[in-house]
Symmetry: C2
Subunit: 313 residues, 2 copies
């Protein structure tokens, strides 16, 4: 594919982890003639100005999208519908409108009705993130070797999809196209359910009477800390994800709960064989993830360990 990834004027609405990373990557790769951004809070806008990454910071969404060839909403899923309504009248004909939300069915449902027929609506979801948020949290390398899923509604102009695909690919992402509904099922199991469970167990630990919070924190290296990273993700974003992808999440939760009940029963009955069989099966999936380069095989996730100096024996 030799589609030019460049857009003359790119508008980013919202400048958190994802918006800030797009700005940095697009700048570094020369993917935009100019980048204009806005954010809801005065404080964030001031900070973005200070950072000096974008060409222009404006106060309103309407002003940001004016004359933009690519508009990306980098805001929580729940805010996308109202913002689509707000910007609709100001969009440039022929512009590509996109987002970065973790749910796609609800985005299409909430945004599409407001958007004029003259623009190209190509929802997107970069499957990348860290537990940090805010204007300082982004970095240009965030999308490298990560997937970005595009979910153009039926009838979307293929050239617009190809243009946005090239833009994401130039930021280092591997791009896949699927329907909004299938996206929501895939993400329910690979992302939404893991987050819900991590949030739950961290909350459970917090409420225990027999074990203190400081003990939980101290001894977290035994496995618990792996859950805490994702349970530290942005609360607003995740509230919106669960509300917007309710059906798929509840379906996966149903299956998970059944499976947990089976393992619980095996423990209660002392059925070592059932436990061993289950634990052996799950190793294969981990190997798959490491093999395709979506994680590191370095021991302990490649977390830094200290140095031991040799002392005289």
């Amino acid at each position: 594919m030799s589609v030019d990834p460049h857009f003359q004027r790119v508008a980013l609405i919202g400048f958190g982890l994802i918006g800030g990373s797009i700005a940095r990557a697009a700048k570094l790769q020369g993917l935009a003639g100019e980048i204009v951004t806005t954010a809801r809070s005065e404080k964030t806008r001031a900070r973005v100005l200070e950072l000096g990454i974008v060409d222009q910071v404006v106060a309103t969404n309407a002003e940001a999208v004016k004359d933009a060839d690519l508009v990306i909403l980098c805001i929580p899923v729940g805010a996308c519908g109202p913002v689509a309504q707000e910007i609709a009248a100001h969009l440039k004909p022929g512009a590509v409108i996109s987002d970065v939300g973790s749910v796609k069915g609800a985005i299409v449902r909430d945004m599409a009705p407001h958007l004029p027929k003259t623009i190209h609506f190509v929802p997107a979801h970069p499957v990348a993130g860290t537990e940090h948020s805010g204007p300082d949290s982004g970095f240009a390398e965030l999308f490298i070797n990560r997937w970005c899923i595009l979910t153009p509604p039926e009838g979307t102009d293929a050239a617009a999809t190809a243009h946005l695909r090239a833009f994401w690919a130039a930021m280092g992402a591997k791009v896949e196209v699927m329907t909004p509904d299938h996206h929501d099922l895939v993400l329910a199991i690979t992302s939404h359910l893991p987050h819900l469970i991590a949030y739950t167990i961290v909350g459970t630990a917090d409420e225990l009477q027999q074990v203190t919070e400081s003990e939980v924190i101290k001894f977290s290296a035994g496995g618990f800390r792996d859950f805490t990273r994702i349970a530290a993700s942005d609360p607003t974003m995740w509230r919106d994800v669960f509300l917007a992808n309710k059906e798929a999440v509840l379906e996966m939760l149903g299956t998970f709960t059944e499976d947990l009940a089976k393992l619980t029963r095996a423990i209660r009955r002392g059925d070592g064989e059932a436990l061993f069989d289950h634990f052996t099966r799950t190793r294969a999936i981990r190997r798959g993830i490491v093999e395709i380069g979506q994680d590191s095989a370095a021991a302990d996730f490649g977390r830094q360990h200290g140095q031991l100096d040799k002392k005289p024996g």
Copy 2:
């Protein structure tokens, strides 16, 4: 504390991740006059010989513990009782006998009755690990800045406990002493329950009809992969942990299941406020873990991201 961490002859029974790491760290720090080891399989013993880390590899447990001043069982929890029985008659009077099991009540119950009164029994649990196992998986730095919990039964000689504490501290560990029962409650929430849940969700993903395994693997960066590391842990070790710490695990599971039901209900009812409140609370625990240095605050766990080269715009 200026207790000498040195032991003249150290016997390691088992040479997996933990045994192998103790051997490497003790050697590097000069904590042992000599290290003798054994392993159940001929293949592992041959590999340990090849590695050239220890002074002696022997074929039987009885031979390994002969004249040893410190004996550490580095084997699955379920194997510790039978091995204690096997070595009891061969232990040197005054020796310190320990283990590295993730459960401590069952270890005391299974091992203590076999051990002669002439030795000092100080069970231990280094809270450190990676998802790898086998003789090649160990490394000298594994215990640095990690906790090691000692659970001497009532009446244990304080000097023996202090000696073993010094040994672990010299390998870089922070050492804490608590009762076996309290240890088992603390670890049920910080380690055992997280592992059980990780094993469950990875199994759930494996069985889905609507989403393929290759999709789960591809899009795992959305959160799922954080669970797969611990769900790739050694199946035998973990089967034994759940059988041995059944009561505490079932208790924590009960609370977790109730909490999950509450969040599920909030999603079903569209109660965004309840979700937001819960998700906000869990961030604080993550901060605690990063602050005390039990994990890295580097974005995305410090996982490596690629490099973007600046291209002509």
